[in-house]
């Protein structure tokens, strides 16, 4: 297939399954996690099925739920998404309470940074892009709505995601060029995550109890998430401006591993893709292993170098890096990656 043809960019659904089936025996833990995610999503859907939500709200899950990488140890990073404003809305407060009843039991509660576990205004995500009012929280919510979010109740998720996408695509976009505004913000989000990781280390006096877990996720799931956003944006160089919103919408409705599996296949980086998903599958195996998770959670910055588990995760991260660099810079994608992904 001509990799310069826009027709080649379709059919991301099930791309991971197809890639693994065609190219090797590895990947069972990724596939099992997808099955587990689908089963748990069905349960949550059923829990919300009897509930009447205001017509402009959705309950949305982020993180491993949306990446289809749910494990027994995953958090329920949920939010109530409002297609409008969430201020002074008692009915929205009711949806938040409802979501709290169904999601986030015990250790599964959303993170403590105030990103999730409350209502998110779609209007704010769209209106506050850039400058001081675009807080870290707003940037994070906006990026994750695009890159890894899935609806479990309500019906406004797709509309809100499209509104956010169009905020980037309705201005300054050129035919057959990656949309710079969106590209810059997704790159900014990824770099912000890395910078904030250091900020958390400083704020805890160098003794952040979650340093090792955060570092491990940056090397693996977070990197995969970023690459899964970067590649479709770069691939927009094959499209005229009017085709970009539907293309990106369709891409972002799939988990990042589907987007990347399709890209490894499309650009003929099969061996590199096999190693990429082999390494990521091992990460998933470790995340599904309660003992490994507990060991990782108990590690601290000071003793991480003595841990063979942390050493292995670092190797997994390096394998992911190497495969992604080969995809970006050693395939026909390199022409656009060199021009747009660095400067």
């Amino acid at each position: 297939m001509d990799t310069r043809s826009p027709a080649a960019l379709s059919n991301q659904a099930g791309a991971l399954e197809r890639f693994l089936k065609s190219n090797g025996p590895q990947g069972q833990h990724l596939l099992d996690a997808r099955t587990h995610t689908a089963q748990r999503q069905a349960v949550v859907h059923a829990q919300f099925a009897e509930e009447a939500l205001p017509s402009d709200t959705s309950v949305v899950l982020f993180g491993s739920w949306a990446r289809q990488e749910l494990t027994e140890g995953s958090d329920d990073d949920w939010a109530v998404l409002v297609d409008g404003t969430a201020e002074d809305r008692t009915d929205v407060v009711g949806v938040v309470e409802l979501a709290r009843r169904h999601l986030g039991d015990g250790d599964r509660k959303p993170g403590s940074q105030g990103i999730f576990g409350e209502a998110i205004s779609g209007d704010e995500l769209v209106a506050k892009v850039g400058l001081d009012e675009d807080t870290n929280t707003n940037l994070t919510r906006r990026a994750l709505l695009l890159l890894e979010s899935v609806e479990v109740a309500g019906s406004v998720h797709a509309r809100c995601r499209r509104r956010v996408l169009e905020r980037y695509l309705n201005y300054g976009v050129k035919d057959f060029r990656p949309p710079r505004f969106l590209l810059n913000d997704i790159v900014r989000y990824w770099r912000t995550v890395g910078v904030d990781f250091e900020g958390k280390h400083r704020d805890t006096g160098g003794d952040d109890p979650k340093w090792v877990e955060r570092n491990a996720k940056l090397r693996t799931a977070r990197k995969v998430l970023f690459a899964g956003g970067l590649v479709p944006i770069l691939q927009c160089h094959l499209l005229a401006k009017p085709d970009m919103p539907d293309y990106l919408d369709q891409q972002l409705s799939r988990p990042p591993t589907d987007r990347l599996a399709a890209a490894f296949e499309h650009y003929g980086a099969i061996d590199e893709g096999v190693r990429f998903f082999g390494a990521y599958d091992r990460w998933m195996e470790l995340m599904r292993d309660q003992q490994a998770r507990a060991e990782l959670a108990a590690l601290r910055f000071e003793n991480r170098e003595a841990s063979s588990l942390f050493a292995e995760i670092r190797q997994i991260g390096e394998a992911l890096d190497q495969a992604l660099i080969a995809l970006l810079f050693d395939t026909p994608l390199s022409q656009v990656a060199r021009k747009y992904a660095v400067l």
């Binding site: 090797g24 025996p25 061996d271 063979s308 292995e312 190797q315 050693d330």
Partner: protein
Amino acid sequence: MSVPTVSAAATDKVASVVPALLDAPSPVVSRHLSVGCSTGFMVDQRGDWVGLVARSAATSTLAVELSALSQEELPGLIRFLRTDPSMPFHYLSVHAPSKGVGADEAERVRALMDLPSRVRAIVVHPDTMEDLKVWSGLGRRLVVENMDARKNSGQTADQLADVFRALPLAGLCLDIAHAKHVDPSLKGGRAMLDRFAGRLRHVHLSSLDDSGHHVPLTAEDAELFTDLLERCRDVPWILEAPLR
């Protein structure tokens, strides 16, 4: 005890890094992201780890394989690495002894397990492995190399499959010159990649002379190896002989 450092020596050599790689006989080599030297061919400096590192850095600061090819070299290498020397390489591997190995296999593996975590891969010849289960302690760092035609095992995908079945986390070091020595058509090398693509961590790159010794990569071999190397774009390539 003073800590050996190679950073100054390496810095002095930085200016020559790019010319050295650009001088490679093939653009496939010079444009590869992560390529570096094995110290195995630097026989005149054997045991002088500070000097070997500096000499390797003169070719590339991206990757290196510190080779303790005989068992008696390993303690010195371990001592050197335990001093946490400053080195410029992004990727560091160690070639485990393949000559003069003692009878106590478990003790040999324990010594390798003590290598610091900055050592990302430990390359082992399969003919030095008898009790495979003791090698599992090296986990993902264990990288098994395919052998040349002079050896009795580890030459083909089928032979390596027995090793990998017992060691699910182990990786493959594809020595392309060895693969050619066994099968000049390189069909065997392609079969290894077809079967173990997910395990590939490392490539050994050189040509072989008539007696099976590693020599600089020839232009003919660079061309012959290109289709295999293009399937190895994401892993470090280690030169087992000087560039020229």
